[in-house]
Symmetry: C2
Subunit: 501 residues, 2 copies
């Protein structure tokens, strides 16, 4: 239970209408798109001026209360699930686009601005903000920065990290930290901007974001390539990259996903195809024409049964709408959906697709695979029912196998969804102990009371901060309440309809 | 004096031929391109295997010895000037290109690989590593990462930070930390890669770097635009960016610099021009043709007296060679050269150029201005003689005025040269106290004995780590031996012939 005194002080900061303690409100903010077990906070506060964020942080720090900042709650790894009796800080009262500077090609925004809203405002000024997480229609830029959100255009345009020029945030004791600049080059001080991106609210509470904008491409062309063998499609992906074509988007969809999407959206996808590639090239019209021709030739060479080029923007939009509905479509099929985003170097996509098939067969599970193949960032999606304990054990083993497969190919646990609590038990398998210990030291230094979104990414930060010389061995440190390399029971569950992928 | 025991242990790590204690050797490694007062280290070690870096760090940590890693020593802010009786660790024994993976478009290198050598090896495989600091012929990739080196192509292609996908480094106690990935997307754990880039050797010693490669542009075209009024040239820069053209390179040179370069290199530059713009556009041939036409039209509209397009690669190379010689050429004119790189939002380039003229006049100083105008990153270069105490006082005041001018325009102290010791006393003027305190906490957490390149960037890290709540005020913390907002006498001197700009 949160003390009444704290509620009173919170109310003094944000105003009476912006503090919520009703059970219905607390339940509303107890989960995110990872559908991990919900955890109700003690209180929800909605600041309406940036300096209120600093005052709330100071209040939490003084009282040792866990603080979880929350945008739209679309994240897929449990990063916005609060602590019991903790404070949830909503950013939707800080939703102003402060500036769009067309001459210097940057935007300044508050953290609660919705991604698609900024993209539209920027487009209206003749500029382009590329990061387009699947949840862009509702996700917030603060959340995108905290999670380093990816999206469909990552292949050519990069991810959120590549667009954050500067930040203002409040640290745990409530001090304002300004980092980065409105200039495209800046090496003044540590790259705290880079450190904050993807730190999932564990190092500070973001109050302002400076985002880089670029000129939009002059032309674009979308197409769908239909394959009768999955292997052909995945080899075409690698061949496109190897041929030095960099499409804006290069997405993969297996038969399982195609059928689910078609049943859901009736977009006219070929339901008997083994796999589809959804491709968009953009840039100068001459470049677009050449790239499209190259892509088509490579797909045909690798056995594409057919290629359809979108005739106009309406058809193009239908293609991408269908793709964006993949997760929602799959979520309809079984009670529990486990969405992973282990990522491999792009040339290993054919190996990874084969491996995912083998893992599904080995554990007798339904896995639909789709995602950002051009980035090596697939989303194998396990359809299951968590109430079936026997099947759930097989799911846990399959997840572990997926991680091992990705790591054995030089890949990573998470391409864009983050670690949160869902994958923190697996971190060491990828990074070894050194990065974890180093990270815990950083966290502990700037948040010694561990109030900022505790337990996310690095597990319980109080563990293992002793200094020793020489090589750490894997058993040398304890990862708090997580068994090293083993997920907590129930933790790997993730994914939900409507979330961004 | 370093203890004999330490020398013996260092020798046991790197071998007898790789430890240097002769006075001549110590003097060789007592300075970098910043020509700050030289500081001789106690010993120089040259590891020839990456794990030796960890063992050296552990040895230094146990003995409380300052460790300064050194690539080619071309940096311009004192980042590689060691501590008295400290250990200099040379990286030139770790100079292997470990892998160029053309399919997945990345390279893995050791820190001592020379920038231009990697660029050439990558080009031979049909790929492109864009960052091109002025010193690329001798600078090392480890140094580029530690300083987040910029270069002439930053405008279109970004800086070193934009190409570092992953790192391995040894922390102060000598543990190996692995961060980032061979995949283009990776959100596994904190973005330690981003934090390390530009941290000037203060957080760890880099042992391996994974660098992103991209397809090279298909075509390019270089041109020189000649202006009779400086203001016209700087307004043309802003107009080019505002017209959504993104040249690969867009460099500015004032008359003072033109004459110095011409006297030095006889490249055929027009000595009576008030200013030159040196421009290169690249990409698809159709894009290049269009962009070149646009750039030419904009320059003429803004009063360009003439535009010369390089007829072939040889002429193009002459243009860039002349530009790259600017610093060397200016360094010939007076005994002391103070090179700054305060950076402004690009639309403010005309204001900044005018302001620099006014500052030169106000303090009765010769300032040659050239640099990466397209990035807002000019290099005003004060020619002086430090032995003239009266003139030197004027130089100090001019530097302070340059910083104030850049900051008043929403700019930054340093676009690409780093803070080192040269600008650490000015940091707070830009960031306020919050970022400095936060940064010192981070440093102190991972390097509690302050052995890793102490005093760089954040001044003396032991200062002011007390936690307090609420807003820090500017006077609330002490910055060690630096007066807040005031450079130490003699500190702002910087710049040297042959250095990279």
């Amino acid at each position: 239970m949160i003390e009444k005194k704290v509620i009173r002080e919170l109310t003094a900061i944000v105003g009476a209408g912006n503090v919520f303690t009703d059970k219905a409100d607390l339940v509303t903010y107890s989960y995110d798109a990872a559908v991990l077990a919900p955890v109700a906070p003690g209180v929800v506060a909605r600041p309406v001026a940036p300096e209120m964020l600093g005052r709330i942080a100071a209040l939490c720090n003084e009282n040792g209360l866990p603080l979880t900042a929350r945008g739209a709650g679309t994240n897929l790894s449990g990063g916005t699930i609060p602590e019991p009796d903790g404070v949830v800080v909503l950013t939707n009262g800080l939703n102003k686009i402060l500036e769009i500077n067309a001459a210097d090609m940057y935007a300044r925004v508050q953290p609660g601005v919705v991604t698609a809203k900024l993209a539209a405002a920027v487009a209206a000024r003749g500029l382009f903000y590329p990061p387009d997480p699947g949840s862009q229609a509702v996700s917030t830029l603060g959340g995108n920065v905290a999670e380093n959100a990816g999206g469909l255009r990552g292949l050519k345009y990069g991810v959120t990290r590549d667009y954050v020029m500067g930040l203002e945030f409040y640290d745990a004791p409530g001090n304002l930290v300004k980092t980065g600049s409105r200039t495209v080059k800046c090496v003044t001080g540590y790259n705290l901007t880079g450190l904050m991106v993807g730190s999932e609210g564990t190092l500070g509470v973001i109050s302002e974001i400076i985002l880089k904008l670029i000129p939009p491409p002059a032309d674009r062309r979308a197409m769908i390539a239909v394959f009768n063998r999955m292997d052909d499609a995945s080899r075409a992906v690698s061949a496109i990259i190897a041929d030095r074509v960099v499409p804006a988007t290069l997405e993969f969809m297996d038969n399982f996903t195609i059928r689910a999407v078609e049943a859901y959206s009736h977009a006219g996808l070929p339901e008997d195809a083994a796999a589809l590639l959804l491709i968009e090239v953009d840039g100068h019209p001459a470049q677009v024409a050449e790239d499209a021709e190259k892509v088509e030739a490579i797909c045909r060479k690798h056995g594409a049964a057919g290629i359809r080029v979108a005739a106009d923007d309406a058809e193009r939009d239908r293609v991408w709408e269908a793709r964006r509905s993949a997760l929602s479509a799959l979520a309809k099929l079984r009670p529990t959906l486990v969405l992973e985003d282990a990522t491999v170097p792009r040339s290993r996509i054919p190996d990874m697709v084969r491996e995912l098939e083998a893992i599904a067969k080995k554990h007798d599970l339904s896995i639909g695979t789709f995602g950002h193949a051009g980035d090596g960032n697939l989303h194998p999606t396990i359809l299951t029912d968590k109430r079936d304990a026997k099947e759930w054990r097989r799911v846990e083993r399959a997840i572990s196998d997926i991680f091992d497969a990705a790591l054995s190919m030089g890949g990573t646990l998470s391409g864009e969804h983050g670690i949160g609590t869902a994958k923190s038990g697996f971190m060491e398998r990828e990074t070894g102990p050194g990065a974890l210990v180093f990270s815990r030291r950083l966290k502990s230094a700037v948040d010694p009371k561990n109030i900022l979104n505790p337990s996310k990414i690095i597990g319980r930060a109080e563990a293992s901060l002793d200094f020793k010389s020489g090589d750490l061995k894997s058993g040398d440190f304890k990862s708090g309440d997580l068994k090293s390399g083993e997920p907590e029971s129930g933790k790997p569950e993730s994914g939900a309809a409507g979330a961004g992928v």
